[in-house]
């Protein structure tokens, strides 16, 4: 479903991702683990099309469509969702209006009808309950004054509403307590269908306990240095990343 071949990414002229290949088939959840600075966030930004993350070589395809030739909003409309490590605060823009404008922009680009205000309200209320956001929080400007954990809930709310074909979750678990981790697991598992895929970027095993990924990849120095089943997370948790740092070099 998401196929990355021999990807090289440079930021400000420095090569961060150095020949990464990855295939996440439809219906699977893959996790990427690795130490700080190994290129995990760089990879997620390049897939989403952020400017300044220059793909100098290689290819990224989502359902056989070449993402690299698409604008960020076109990638979004094609079903790509990125849960940000540090979500933005947008003063003056209401949460409901922001999410509805986003949803309808994606739908419009796909040639679908927009969602009416009433239907949208019902949808948001149902999903907000699952991610643990209150009506009062939904009335505020988007993410303004929210804690780190609340912002992650807002990412999960959007993911639950947009129902993307493919989601990248960049350290969604950081800053979350046990209950919030369970919530993230529940949102992912509810969306886990044979036609969807996930790429979960994390440092730790703890989120993976709630999700149980199909495959785990270790990223070190811009390359995948090891891949394995869910048991690899346990191994990393006890042994750390040190030995991979050596292998990448």
């Amino acid at each position: 479903m998401l196929t990355i071949s021999n990807l090289h990414i440079s930021v400000d002229g420095a090569e961060i991702v150095k020949g990464l290949s990855l295939d996440v088939p439809a219906g699977e959840v893959h996790a990427i683990m690795g130490p700080n600075g190994s290129g995990k966030s760089t990879l997620s930004y390049a897939i989403a099309g952020r400017s300044g993350y220059d793909v100098t070589k290689g290819d990224i395809q989502l359902e056989k469509k070449n993402l690299l030739q698409m604008e960020p909003e076109e990638r979004s409309a094609s079903g790509l969702f990125l849960s940000f490590q540090q979500p933005m605060e947008i003063p003056g823009v209401g949460t409901m209006s922001f999410i509805r404008t986003s949803l309808n922009a994606q739908r419009k680009a796909r040639g679908e009808e927009g969602v009416s205000a009433a239907d949208f309200l019902r949808l948001v209320r149902a999903k907000a309950k699952i991610v643990g956001l209150t009506d009062e929080q939904l009335k505020r400007p988007f993410n303004v004054g929210f804690s780190g954990g609340e912002k992650k809930r807002m990412e999960m709310l959007q993911m639950a509403i947009f129902e993307p074909r493919f989601a990248i979750m960049d350290e969604t678990d950081s800053g979350l307590d046990i209950d919030a981790l369970k919530m993230v697991g529940a949102v992912v598992n509810a969306l886990r269908t044979p036609d969807r895929g996930f790429l979960i970027i994390t440092h730790y095993q703890r989120l993976l306990d709630h999700i149980n990924p199909d495959r785990i990849h270790v990223l070190a120095d811009g390359k995948i240095v090891k891949s394995g089943g869910a048991e690899l997370a346990t191994e990393l948790e006890s042994d750390g990343y040190d030995k991979f740092a050596g292998e990448a070099a």
Partner: protein, 398 residues
């Protein structure tokens, strides 16, 4: 003796129109305000006005009835400086008269010229609570110069909303409108100033506001500039406990120039001033913000705050800002803040990842930025129309 100033053609012709007296003498000595004059550094009117100045012909265009749609609003129309027709829908709380006696000359140079050249003043007296707003339209077209002097007087305990719409069709005119407001004790005035000028238009709107005992004054502006437009507001807290909320948004494109200059003088105790200006600039436009708080020695317990924030959407747009405090009282709270920046690329990327196009994301952010000013407008029908003007501005491509 200093060298005698060599007057420009514009100044010479203007001088011929002015009656002999102080204003003419000042013009002969100092010329029109320009970059060498304090408070006019960034709005060099002197160099912009090159052609001979004649008085405007009567307004040639058709007066559209629908510039701003306000149900039940009373309406006064000035076209090229002349009151047109009869004021319509005015409630009994308002009385309008013409006063030809001299009402004193304001200090601001353009306001002084307006007061000299206008044929007396239009006096708007308001007593009691106005059930609906009054719209004053200032229309300009053609070439030449025209001016108005309107004095609004609020009796004690009066409540009113006045909407000024400074509109224009094509032309290279110079409009010079002096708008005076005196608020008696415990009266409330909301003044909304909408300024839309043709690209060749030069104009000055000078608002002079005197605040009585516990009066409250709210001003909200939306301006688009012109070749050179100056919107100047001077507020004086004459008596104790008055409140002034002074705000404005400006949206400039192409080569438009808009100068928002404000001076708030606290002469009495316990006065409150909140000032907020926000600008969005594209193309090669230029915005000027000058804000001054003057707090006299006797104006203890003054609370005055000023902020100005501008967003530059193009590399060639420019903003000059000068916030200034001059304080002689010791028991006061005064603060000012000023920022000039661009839209946050991180936020734009976030919004595009959510599916919005870059133009849509920019328009939403500008809307939100300016929204902080416009949300102060209680009149919903008017606010919606002004929000639409902001969206139209961004709809032209960011």
């Amino acid at each position: 003796m200093g060298a005698v100033l060599k007057l420009t053609t514009a100044e010479q012709t203007l001088l011929q129109q002015l009656p002999k007296g102080d204003v003419a003498a000042r013009l002969r000595e100092h010329g029109l305000p320009g970059r060498r004059k304090e408070g006019w550094r960034w709005s060099d009117l002197r160099s912009v006005l090159k052609e001979p100045i004649a008085l405007s012909d009567p307004y040639a265009g058709t007066i559209s009835p629908t510039a701003l749609i306000l149900e039940n609003a009373g309406e006064l129309i000035f076209a090229n400086g002349r009151l047109v027709g009869h004021p319509s829908y005015l409630p009994p709380q308002i009385r309008i008269s013409r006063q030809s006696a001299h009402l004193g000359t304001p200090g601001a140079p353009l306001a002084a010229i307006a007061s000299e050249l206008s044929d007396g003043a239009h006096i708007v007296e308001i007593v009691g609570k106005l059930p609906s707003p009054v719209l004053i339209r200032y229309l300009s077209d053609g070439s030449g110069m025209h001016q108005t002097r309107v004095q609004v007087r609020l009796a004690p305990d009066t409540e009113a909303t006045i909407i000024e719409h400074h509109e224009s069709t094509e032309g290279a005119w110079l409009s010079n409108n002096l708008c005076e407001f005196s608020l008696n004790s415990k009266s409330h005035l909301t003044r909304i100033v909408v300024q839309e000028g043709a690209p060749g238009a030069i104009g000055a709107i000078t608002g002079l506001v005197m605040l009585g005992d516990r009066a409250t004054y709210t001003q909200i502006g939306l301006g688009f500039g012109g070749k050179m437009v100056r919107d100047e507001t001077q507020i004086v807290h004459v008596q104790r406990g008055a409140k002034a909320k002074l705000s404005g948004a400006y949206l400039l494109d192409d080569k438009n120039h808009l100068d928002n200059t404000t001076r708030v003088e606290h002469r009495a105790i316990e006065g409150l001033t909140e000032e907020l200006y926000k600008g969005v600039l594209r193309g090669q436009s230029r915005g000027v913000f000058q804000g001054k708080f003057f707090v006299a020695r006797d104006a203890q317990k003054t609370d005055a705050r000023m902020s100005h924030h501008a967003l530059l959407l193009s590399e060639n747009a420019e903003v000059n800002a000068k916030p200034e405090l001059e304080i002689y009282a010791d028991d006061v709270q005064c603060a000012h803040g000023n920022t000039v920046g661009s839209l946050d690329e991180n936020v734009l990327f976030y919004m595009r990842q959510r599916g919005m196009s870059e133009n849509e994301a920019r328009a939403i952010l500008v809307d939100a930025f300016v929204g902080e000013v416009l949300e102060g407008i209680k009149h919903e029908q008017l606010r919606e129309q002004l929000v639409t003007k902001v969206r139209d501005f961004m709809g032209g491509g960011a």
